[in-house]
Amino acid sequence: MIREFTFTDVLYLIAAMRWTLALTAIAFLGGGIVGLTVALLRVSTFAPLRWLGALYVHAVQGTPLLAWLFVFFFGLSIVGIEVSPWIAAAAAYSIYAGAFLGEIWRGCLQAIPRTQWEAGASLGLGFAAQLRYIIVPQATRLAIPPTVGFLVQLIKNTSLAAVIGFIELTREGQLTTATTFRPFSVYITVAVLYFLLCFPLTQWSRRLERSLHVAR
């Protein structure tokens, strides 16, 4: 039945934002764990580990996120695992975010001068202790602005989960369009809602970046 696109629909769209945020949070958490592993692999002193990290990053950054979503959503069922959109999305986004966060964090780790590592070594610290007490605290400060910037990418890309039936903001928009036949109003509203989520983060990331340059 065709209804009008009313304020109630807008409220439903706003309510659907919580699933966008929940998926972003899960992806960031999963991607953070994967990303940290990748970043550590990439700065490892053992070459094959570095290659493994590089291979992972290139494979993920060279394939569309949509493909990962479909592989997990349709693909895992063939090994007998019934996959809900939640699991498929969580897995696909963790893999995807892990590659990008891993590259960002690797850059931050490598931006710390070699001499800092050597200073740690001369104090008798091992690799792990150098990383823990000398490199990571300095790299974290560098990592915050680009990580916030990537968070914006992540929020926007959660919209792709709509195609496997994961109900978040974009999917809710599709469903609302199907009942109201007001695609323009609906998708403009959806776009505005994404903008309200992302724009403050973009500005924050920019401010952080600027203050970092001043501090240096």
């Binding site: 949509l66 195609v163 323009f184 994404y194």
Partner: protein, 222 residues
């Protein structure tokens, strides 16, 4: 648990996959060119233009960069017809991708333009060059060289993002995959093959961009 992989059905549809691949390539290359043009014009406007033009470009860039591509695509393909503007899926895809990449290119190129030292521009002025000549002979070349890696990786990301146009049923590589899937029910195999094809494309584009860099920037000309 005993699943036997069968890629035969997937590869049997190779002509079909090839058609999709060609559209994906066309979408990527055309969008890269139009995105570069929008990026050059927009970044020049944002850095050297009058205040009102800067404001318009800034609104465009922020609006596009803070909303998802798929929503922009839906707005153009499903939304605009209710305002009387109709496109077929492919045209909508070209428009949405160009608008999207254009916004990112403007930001990247802007950083390049702003990195050119003021003294370079003043040197051009003291030689009596006009504004356009300074842009053409003094600014653009070193600016492009500075941001080339960022632009190239944005272009590769765009090539991967073209897969999203399958959702408005433009017949790209990803869309042909879902058609083969619905015909053969070989879900996993189809998407693995297609993911491999994208990976190969990404590799080719990266090599091509690296070669292009050598060709343009590594000669005696600086």
């Amino acid at each position: 648990m005993t699943y036997s992989f069968q890629f035969r059905d997937v590869f049997a549809a190779w002509e079909f996959l090839l058609d999709g691949l060609i559209l994906t390539l066309e979408l990527s290359v055309v969008t890269m060119l139009s995105g570069l043009v929008i990026g050059l014009a927009g970044s020049a406007a944002k850095v050297y233009g009058p205040g009102w033009l800067k404001a318009i470009v800034a609104v465009y860039v922020e609006a596009i960069r803070n909303t998802p591509l798929i929503v922009q695509l839906f707005l153009i393909f499903f939304g605009l017809p209710s305002a009387g503007i109709k496109f077929n899926a492919e045209t909508a895809a070209y428009i949405a991708l160009s608008i999207n990449l254009g916004a990112y290119s403007i930001e990247i190129l802007r950083a390049g333009l702003q990195a050119i030292p003021r003294s370079q521009i003043e040197a051009g002025q003291s030689l009596g060059l006009s504004g356009l000549q300074i842009f053409r002979y003094v600014i653009i070349f070193p600016a492009l060289r500075l941001i080339y890696p960022a632009l190239a990786s944005q272009f590769v990301l765009l090539m991967l993002a073209t897969s999203v146009v399958s959702q408005i049923s433009a017949q790209d590589l990803f869309h042909t995959a879902s058609i083969i899937q619905s015909r053969t029910f070989r879900d996993f195999e189809v998407y693995i093959v297609v993911a491999g094809a994208y990976l190969l494309l990404a590799l080719i584009f990266r090599l091509m961009f690296a070669g292009l860099y050598q060709l343009i920037f590594s000669r005696a000309r600086r």
